[in-house]
């Protein structure tokens, strides 16, 4: 029993943190921002604990496997959680002076689901953690349900509802697909498929792939992305745009590369289609966007396309590069959204034109945004360059030269819309000349992202080594 406890110690700690936050707020009536700081501190101590608690092992019946692979993801989720919580504190205190604990607790529950996901080797555990990750997000997306001008429809509930309906539809597909797969094989173990597949098998598998693709926001399951990003509170979107995507990557890798490794003929074409569609649609549709959140939404869709390209490579190298990519994406996109959040709090809008003159009003925020955008565009000296280069190399080595060419060509489009954001911050005279004041926790969060993006850009080796270690623990046979 104690071995099992140790195996799930980190995940339980996050779940317990959620309960602590809720209970303390209910009984002790903590002042507003204390809850936020407490959440960040609890997550921080779990992150520290990942370096001391040996969570390696296998649960009975092989339903859960923990090692370097799960550790990589757990640290990533915790880091994203801390940064997003810090980014939320000031905004939340202003928006919702009371019942803040609910916001943080929902985030912590979602994190618990994510933490369990990469280790799951059984359909039941995988699905439960996937839904545990997803359900709190629906509520969080609709958090600011009364915000916005009085005479216009509110965007908050719309954002939540869209996420919810598409999410539920996707879950239905996953479950239906699973019913086919499990019904045919009679086992809930991920790798229980027989060597030769029936038509029902492969149909079920593809439905599962489609259903899980929803959280990744891969085309054609991306429709919720821009609308939800536009309507949900931005500090939460910063979290939504990175952590569940990493969770989706974990689920995809576990299902396809581990569970269905010998049936790659079924899923590889599907994944290639998703990858190309996401790269192309994401980059092309980002071009005309005038709202920064929608633009970053489509950009995120495109970035996921690159990740899927690396997964499609179906090699330990590819997985390592996908991990590296998603980890850098977490810091870059979180940072970008938080800067946009800080700027919009002052200027009152998310249109590109509202960013005008940002670098004159607040040179630091302007420079930070430029760095994040350059990283998303894949320019050297920031980490996004390595991420793109690695993914392309891994894919090319796996013989996907055609897909790589498509990826590089649409990446050139990316240059234009990322730089057009940078241009509006740098060039035009803004409507306001007020400097943007980012509060202390928000500043900490942005600075951490900035240091990570530039630091890893100059010296990417530690993260590459970690990703490679995690990937080779995950795919030892290659």
């Amino acid at each position: 029993m104690s071995a099992l406890l140790q195996l799930f110690a980190l995940d339980l700690a996050v779940a317990a943190s959620a309960c602590v936050v809720l209970a303390l707020d209910a009984f002790a009536r903590l002042p507003g921002r204390v809850v936020g700081w407490l959440t960040a501190a609890l997550l921080g101590s779990v992150l520290v604990a990942t370096f001391f608690v040996d969570g390696t092992g296998v649960a009975p019946h092989g339903v859960y496997e923990a090692g370097a692979w799960t550790l990589f993801f757990k640290r990533l989720f915790l880091a994203a959680g801390i940064l997003a919580v810090l980014g939320s504190i000031d905004w939340l205190e202003e928006r919702t002076p009371h019942r803040q604990a609910e916001y943080y607790a929902l985030m912590l529950f979602s994190l618990t689901g994510m933490m369990l996901l990469p280790g799951a080797r059984d359909w039941v555990l995988l699905l439960v953690s996937f839904e545990l990750m997803g359900v709190p997000l629906y509520a969080l997306a609709a958090w600011a349900k009364t915000d916005g001008p009085a005479d216009e429809p509110k965007l908050g509930p719309e954002a939540g509802l869209k996420l919810f309906v598409t999410g539920v539809a996707s879950s239905a597909f996953t479950l239906f697909g699973l019913a086919l797969v499990i019904g045919e094989t009679g086992s809930t173990a991920l790798s229980a498929l027989p060597a030769s597949l029936s038509l029902l098998h492969s149909t079920g598998m593809l439905m599962v792939i489609a259903g899980l693709g929803f959280k990744l926001g891969a085309v054609p399951f991306h429709m919720w992305v821009p609308d939800t990003y536009q309507g949900a509170p931005t500090p939460f979107v910063a979290f939504l745009s990175v952590a569940p995507k990493a969770g989706g990557l974990a689920a995809y890798s576990v299902v396809m590369l581990s569970g269905w490794a010998q049936h790659h003929a079924v899923w590889m074409p599907a994944l290639a289609v998703l990858a190309v569609a996401s790269m192309v649609v994401g980059n092309v549709f980002a071009l005309p966007q005038l709202d920064v959140r929608r633009l970053l939404g489509f950009s995120g869709v495109a970035q996921i396309g690159y990740v899927l390209l690396a997964v499609r490579a179906n090699s330990a190298e590819g997985v390592a590069m996908a991990l590296f990519f998603i980890a850098t994406y977490v810091f870059t996109n979180l940072g970008a959204f938080l800067v946009v959040h800080a700027a919009a709090r002052q200027s009152g809008g998310y249109e590109l034109s509202k960013l005008a003159g940002l670098s004159r009003r607040s040179p630091w925020l302007g420079a930070a945004l430029l760095v994040f955008l350059l990283s998303l565009a894949g320019i050297p000296f920031v980490v996004g360059f390595w991420a793109k280069l690695f993914v392309f190399l891994a894919a090319w080595r796996a013989g996907l030269s055609g897909l790589v060419v498509v990826g590089v060509v649409v990446a050139v489009l990316g240059l234009f819309y990322y730089l057009s954001v940078a241009r509006s911050t740098f060039m035009a005279e803004g409507a306001s000349s007020q400097p943007v004041k980012a509060g202390f926790p928000l500043t900490v969060s942005i600075v951490v992202c900035l240091v990570a993006v530039v630091g890893l850009g100059l010296w990417p080796r530690p993260l590459v080594d970690e990703a490679t270690k995690a990937a080779s623990a995950f795919m030892p046979k290659h």
Binding site: P153, P157, L161, K162, V165, T166, A169, S170, F173, S202, T203, M205, L206, M207, I209, A210, P220, F221, M223, W224, V266, W267, P269, A270, V273, L274, V284, F285, L287, P288, Q289, E317, R360, L374, G378, I379, P380, F381, F385, L389, F392, L393, W396, R397, V404, V408, A411, V412, L413, L415, F416, L419, R423, F426, M427, P460, R461, V464, D465, T468
Partner: protein, 599 residues
């Protein structure tokens, strides 16, 4: 100290200054300390470079040290480090010396800026010098690309230094977009190189086809960085930056990085005759085209900018002819005399507070030292025998003899005539003739301004004699020979100067001025890019926007209308919109299943 340590010092000293200035904001905000710190770093770099030179003259061999940047499966995937050989040492000396002169000049030139802007200016200079040195000492193409992008970033920030001026911000963005677009070629080239050779070294390629692909893609980046036709349009606009910045980045060093890259990757280019053929023509066309446009500019700095395009065309043509040494030699002399010309122009602009040639005139009495410096630079650029520019230009022209049935050779000879002609025009209009409206109160700057002019005048005069030494350092062959080409080149440059005296001495206009001016103001290449941008990119963008807004919104409106007609007072979010989205999920799943199953 070992050569490797010295090279590291030369590279990292400006990085230390840049980071200090970035992090310790009081240093930057107070202005003067930033200048001192950056100057100290540059002096350190120059000192280290000189120490390297002394060691090399004492017989020290090439030095190379790398450490693994990223490892994969226990072996380095990419390396970072320093390589000191003849080429990088000479380049390092040039960069550090010119940078020091320019920074010293800037202390006086930027004196009237508010302390914060003054500090920011020097912080950016430190960043630039670090980035440029990363390019210079890099032992492989990947690290070179890193430095390449960093100099691009510092260039962007320095062009946009006066960002309150819309034209400056616009120019910065244009330069960034143009060069970034070209840099995609670099990225592609690196990918192809690594996939086919397993490394980022420039030493070899498995086949001629691979070499042609890699060099062709790299050359796209060179065209962008070194402002070659048809990507040259950003360089004249980049003159919106402060004049010393133009001297350092957009004349002497950064724009020459493209040429430096080709010199470095010469073993690859040697395997790709097709790429060289293209380079030969691109360089020759740029040399003539830009020289023609330089003839009709009314802005002193733009004359020099087009002249830089034209001279870079010379270098690229020489590289295309397979004579990397000729291109490199011209890079070196050009760095000195063009930096000198820009700084002298800066001194003039500082004195008359205007860039327009028409506001100047008759300045030789008010600014004797500046006049001397500018004339030395102009004669060197024009290729008058004895000046540095003569030797390197002669070598470039000689290397083209007989290539492509002598056509590029003839084009560059003609460009040599044009060069002398437009420089003659500028010298006469600015320093001789009637004093212009703003010339009255002009006076020389202080020692910080005149000192660098004197220092740069020396190599502009004399660095031509170093050709033989340079050749031994870079293990190339070099002989000064008296043949048809040097004689013709001399005739061309003297004829150009003579024609300038005849035409402009009496206040006349160059022949074809109207045509060239029309060409310049119409700016065909600019329009072609703008048109391509509008048609291509904005077209795609508009289409995507239409689908995103009209098609999807249309569905939504239709659904909303249907719902209202149905008698409910449903709000937007209760309409079919989310149903449409769910429908999309269904369609997507079905498509995926069909693709997978029917495959």
């Amino acid at each position: 100290m070992s050569p490797v340590t010295l090279a590291l010092v030369a590279t990292l000293a400006p990085a230390v200054a840049a980071v200090l200035l970035l992090v310790v904001s009081p240093l930057r905000h107070r202005g003067a300390p930033a200048a001192w710190l950056t100057l100290a770093a540059t002096v350190t770099s120059l000192g280290a470079a000189i120490a390297l030179l002394v060691a090399r003259l004492g017989g020290a061999p090439d030095a190379r040290a790398t450490t693994s940047w990223i490892e994969q499966a226990g072996r380095p995937l990419a390396e970072v480090g320093v390589l000191i050989d003849g080429v990088s040492l000479v380049m390092l000396l040039i960069v550090c010396l010119v940078a020091l002169c320019v920074q010293l000049f800037s202390v006086a030139y930027m004196h009237d800026e508010p302390p914060k802007a003054f500090g920011r200016y020097f912080a950016l200079h430190a960043l630039f010098l670090f980035s440029m040195n990363v390019v210079v000492v890099s032992p492989n193409l990947l690290q070179l690309f890193f430095g390449w992008e960093l100099v691009g970033l510092s260039s962007y920030l320095l062009i946009g230094f006066y960002f309150a001026r819309p034209s400056a911000a616009q120019a910065a963005v244009k330069a960034f977009w143009m060069t970034k677009l070209a840099d995609m070629g670099f990225l592609f080239g690196l990918l192809v190189l690594f996939v086919s050779t397993g490394s980022f070294e420039w030493t070899s390629a498995p086949s001629a086809a691979v070499a042609t692909w890699v060099t062709g893609l790299l050359f796209v980046a060179v065209v962008g960085k070194s402002a070659q036709f048809p990507l040259h349009v950003w360089l004249p606009d980049a003159m919106e930056g402060p004049t010393p910045v133009s001297a350092l980045l957009h004349a002497a060093t950064m724009v020459a990085a493209g040429v430096f890259l080709v010199v470095r990757a010469d073993p690859l280019f040697a395997l790709a005759p097709g790429t060289r053929e293209v380079m030969l023509w691109v360089g020759s066309v740029t040399a003539v085209f830009a020289a023609g446009l330089a003839l009709v500019q009314r802005d002193l700095k733009k004359v020099l900018a087009f002249s830089t395009c034209s001279q870079l065309g010379y270098m690229v043509a020489a590289l295309g002819a397979g004579q990397a040494f000729a291109g490199f030699f011209h890079l070196g002399t050009h760095a000195f005399f063009k930096a000198l010309l820009f700084l002298a122009a800066g001194s003039v602009i500082h004195a008359v507070h205007s860039n327009a040639i028409d506001d100047m005139g008759g300045l030789r009495k008010k600014l004797p030292l500046t006049t001397g410096a500018f004339v030395i630079g102009a004669l060197s650029l024009a290729g008058v025998p004895g000046f540095a520019g003569f030797f390197s230009k002669d070598l470039v022209l000689s290397s083209l003899e007989g290539k492509a049935s002598w056509v590029p050779w003839a084009m560059l000879l003609f460009a040599a005539f044009l060069t002398a002609f437009y420089m003659g025009r500028v010298v006469i209009k600015v320093f001789w003739g009637e004093p212009g409206a703003r010339a009255e109160h002009a006076h020389e700057g202080n020692l910080a301004m005149t000192g660098p002019l004197v220092v740069l005048a020396v190599p502009s005069l004399a660095s031509g004699v170093l050709g033989g030494w340079l050749a031994t350092q870079t293990s190339a062959e070099y002989h000064l020979h008296l043949g048809l080409t040097p004689v013709l080149a001399t005739v061309m440059s003297l004829a150009g100067l003579g024609a300038a005296v005849v035409v402009f001495g009496r206040g006349g206009k160059a022949p074809l001025t109207a045509v060239l001016e029309r060409l310049d103001t119409f700016s065909l290449v600019d329009r072609a890019w703008a048109g391509g941008y509008r048609l291509g990119l904005l077209g795609v963008s508009a289409l995507a926007g239409w689908v995103d807004r009209y098609l999807i919104d249309g569905l939504m409106n239709f659904a909303g209308w249907a719902a209202l007609e149905g008698g409910t007072s449903a709000r937007r979010l209760q309409t079919g919109l989310v149903r449409d989205y769910a429908l999309m999920v269904v369609v997507g799943v079905l498509a995926l299943v069909l693709i997978g199953v029917l495959r």
